[in-house]
């Protein structure tokens, strides 16, 4: 059986890649995609933990389904915002969205 650490390392790596993408990329599309990466990293960790935990087996998987469903909704909203933004500004750069600057 593959040890837990492997899954966690994979999960951590994936999360870091996603986080880097969210923070560094300019395009809204890329930011949303990287968010998905982060979700999936978390999903891997959840499933892994679920497998290794004796008590409460299966709960992790349930969580993953929730995460997947929410993520789908989030992507739908995110892409909609992206389209709206493109219509408005003909650009998809997040740095452009600074109306809330103090």
């Amino acid at each position: 059986m593959t040890p837990l650490q492997h899954y966690l390392v994979l999960s951590g790596a994936l999360f870091s890649v996603g986080a880097w993408g969210v923070l560094a990329r300019r395009s809204i599309i890329m930011v949303v995609m990287c968010l998905e990466l982060m979700f999936n990293a978390v999903n891997i960790a959840l499933v892994a933990f679920s497998n290794y935990a004796n008590a409460g087996a299966g709960r992790g998987e349930v969580f993953v389904f929730f995460v997947l469903a929410i993520a789908a909704a989030e992507v739908a909203v995110g892409l909609a915002i992206g389209i709206a933004m493109y219509r408005l500004r003909e650009k998809l750069d997040v740095d452009e969205l600074d109306e809330m600057r103090g």
Partner: protein, 629 residues
């Protein structure tokens, strides 16, 4: 008797309420019906009460417990004794005459109903003031008459001078009333009661210093209300009110409240020689001080106002030297003749269409005969002409001062008699005699007042003439002395003595001095009309000083009012606009500044925020790890 005593104040009160609330809409120029009727009934009842008291029946009646808080117990109750009876007599008689007179004088005024409502309220308050049986009730109505005085002085309030005069009266009285209230509190603290009878019964137990303090504080109130120096400044200005008000409130009744209060408190004052001396000194000084000012005033009402101050000074002198009965006698006589004089001056002013400056009068004698003769009688009484009421009452005061050993007060008072006679007849001669000095058109228009105004003049001149004969003969043991003997029995310090050679010669001296004053006025204003101007020139400084009322108002402005104004301005500019507004605005500026400082954090860049979140998360993790290690 109880019913009468209760109705005397309540009728004017009812009339005040009805006239005050419905007069504007329903009564209009008929507002006086109810007003005069209520006061007329009060007058009849007052006469009834007076006769009952005269027959020896007095009344002390606790009607209702007003305040019962632990030891502090105040009743609403009536005390009717000889002193009250005298006050009722003056207040109701002059009050009724002034009510009738006002029908003519105030005719056609826009505030007709308001005027009658106010003087009804005044009558109620004044009746309650003299009927009260304890100091707190006295104080309440003391303030109430002050309020009425203020309302009536400022009756023509669109006129700035009138509303200012009203305020001045109110404020100056506050000074005196402050002392009065302290005096009442001191009485309660020392004796635990405010009821006249219990206070006077315990007067002897208070002890030297305290009784002096109480008396002086009470006297402070009297100084304010009765316009004694240095709080006399409001009374001349109060002449801005309608003339019937000057007559009723500022000559015959309210200003006497101070004299009444001191006379009522005679058992207290009798225990403090110092306080008595202060009362006498201030009274004497005021008497001559105001008489000097009255010599040179040109406004007919101002002369009478200063004369009132001067005569009230006489009364206080009498109180101070222990001639209690003489003070009350003079109060009674003065109430009648000064009320009469004011009403006459109102008739003169009415005849001239509002003119008050005596320099623009003259020669009115033939045109307004009734006014002239009644005015003449009043002036004779004021001058102390033998036989008239003023003569007997003034003589009682003078001999009281002399026989009490206060010869210095007696001399000053004698000089004042002379001055009084002089200015009274200066008034008469300038107004009624010599050549008319007004426009021919005005002179042609001069007419006698309607009967509703002249009748009160005639009625009031009756007691002016006969009151002295009825009450004052023989001097010092006349009817009034016997009548008031019981009230002042505890306080009379000068031994009773019979009318003899000494009092006879004193009487002769004061009569001669009074007539001398009249003759000098005649010499100055009729025989040699150039003399006054020449004398004024020679008197120079003194004349200017008297003409400007010794600059008392100016001194008050310089010492109290202007510094206070500057202080208020400082409070406004520095404390209010600076400190308080500064703190309020400072709070706003603080929030604004903090916002400005923190604003750069809000970059609007989503990724920046996210980065901060990650950093925060990392920091939390580090902390967690360190803590779990």
């Amino acid at each position: 008797m109880k019913a009468a005593v209760l109705l005397i104040p309540l009728l004017p009160l009812a009339s005040f309420i009805i006239t005050g609330f419905f007069g504007r809409r329903y009564f209009k120029d008929k507002s006086h019906y109810l007003s005069v009727a209520s006061v007329a009934i009060s007058w009849i009842l007052s006469m009834y009460v007076f006769i009952q008291v005269e027959r020896g029946q007095t009344l002390s009646w606790q009607l209702y417990t007003w305040i019962a808080a632990g030891k502090f117990h105040v009743d609403i109750g009536f005390l009717v004794d000889e002193l009250t009876a005298i006050m009722l007599l003056v207040v109701s008689t002059v009050g009724l005459m002034v009510h009738i007179y006002s029908i003519g004088y105030m005719h056609g005024d826009k505030g007709y109903y308001r005027f009658f409502a106010y003087i009804n309220l005044f009558m109620f308050s004044m009746f309650m003031l003299v009927l009260a049986n304890n100091y707190l009730l006295l104080y309440v109505f003391w303030e109430a008459v002050g309020l009425c005085s203020y309302l009536l002085i400022a009756f023509w309030f669109p006129k700035l001078s009138a509303s200012n005069a009203g305020m001045k009266a109110f404020l100056v009285n506050r000074v005196g009333d402050f002392g009065f209230s302290l005096g009442i509190m001191l009485i309660f603290v020392t004796l635990g009661t405010l009821d006249y009878s219990s206070v006077f019964a315990a007067a002897g137990t208070i002890g030297g210093g305290m009784v002096t303090a109480i008396c002086l504080l009470l006297f402070t109130g009297a100084v304010g209300k009765s316009a004694q120096f240095p709080l006399h400044v409001w009374l001349p200005d109060a002449m801005e009110g309608p003339t019937p008000v000057s007559s009723l409130i500022h000559a015959a009744t309210m200003v006497n409240a101070g004299v009444y209060m001191v006379a009522r408190s005679s058992p207290l004052f009798a225990h403090s020689h110092t306080a008595m001396l202060v009362v006498a000194a201030i009274g004497t000084f005021t008497a001559i001080f105001a008489a000097i000012i009255a010599l040179v005033q040109n406004d007919i009402k101002k002369v009478l106002a200063y004369s009132t101050i001067s005569q009230l000074g006489y009364m206080f002198m009498a109180l101070g030297v222990g001639a209690w009965t003489a003070a009350m006698f003079h109060l009674l006589a003065h109430g009648f003749f000064k009320g009469l004089l004011f009403l006459c001056s109102g008739s003169v002013i009415h005849a001239l269409g509002g003119e008050q400056d005596m320099r623009k009068m003259g020669g009115l004698r033939k045109k307004i005969k009734i006014t002239y003769w009644t005015f003449f009688i009043g002036a004779l009484a004021l001058s102390g002409f033998p036989g008239l009421s003023g003569f007997f009452s003034k003589d009682a005061i003078l001999s009281g001062a002399f026989s009490g050993g206060y010869w210095y007060f007696w001399i000053v008072a004698l000089i004042t008699v002379f001055l009084t006679a002089f200015y009274s007849f200066r008034l008469i001669f300038m107004t009624f005699h010599s050549e008319p000095r007004m426009d021919a058109k005005v002179f042609a228009h001069v007419h006698e007042s309607p009967p509703v105004m002249t009748a009160p003049l005639i009625v009031l001149s009756v007691p002016t003439v006969v009151a002295g004969l009825f009450l004052g003969i023989p001097p010092e043991s006349g009817h009034i002395d016997h009548f008031l003997h019981r009230v002042f029995a505890a306080a009379i310090v000068t031994p009773e003595h019979q009318f003899g050679f000494l009092s006879g010669s004193l009487m002769a001296i004061s009569a001669v001095v009074g007539i001398g004053g009249i003759l000098l006025a005649w010499h100055f204003y009729l025989r040699c009309p150039f003399l006054p101007a020449a004398t004024c020139k020679r008197a120079g400084r003194l004349y200017t000083l008297a003409l400007n009322k010794f600059y008392v108002d100016e001194i008050y402005f310089a010492v109290f009012i202007n510094p206070l104004r500057r202080f208020s301005r400082w409070l406004w500019r520095i404390v209010d606009a600076g400190v308080i507004d500064g703190a309020v605005n400072g709070a706003g500026w603080l929030a604004l500044g903090a916002g400005r400082l923190l604003r750069p954090i809000q970059t609007g860049k989503v990724q920046g925020y996210l980065f901060a979140m990650f950093l925060g998360l990392l920091a939390l993790m580090v902390v967690y790890i360190i803590l779990t290690l």
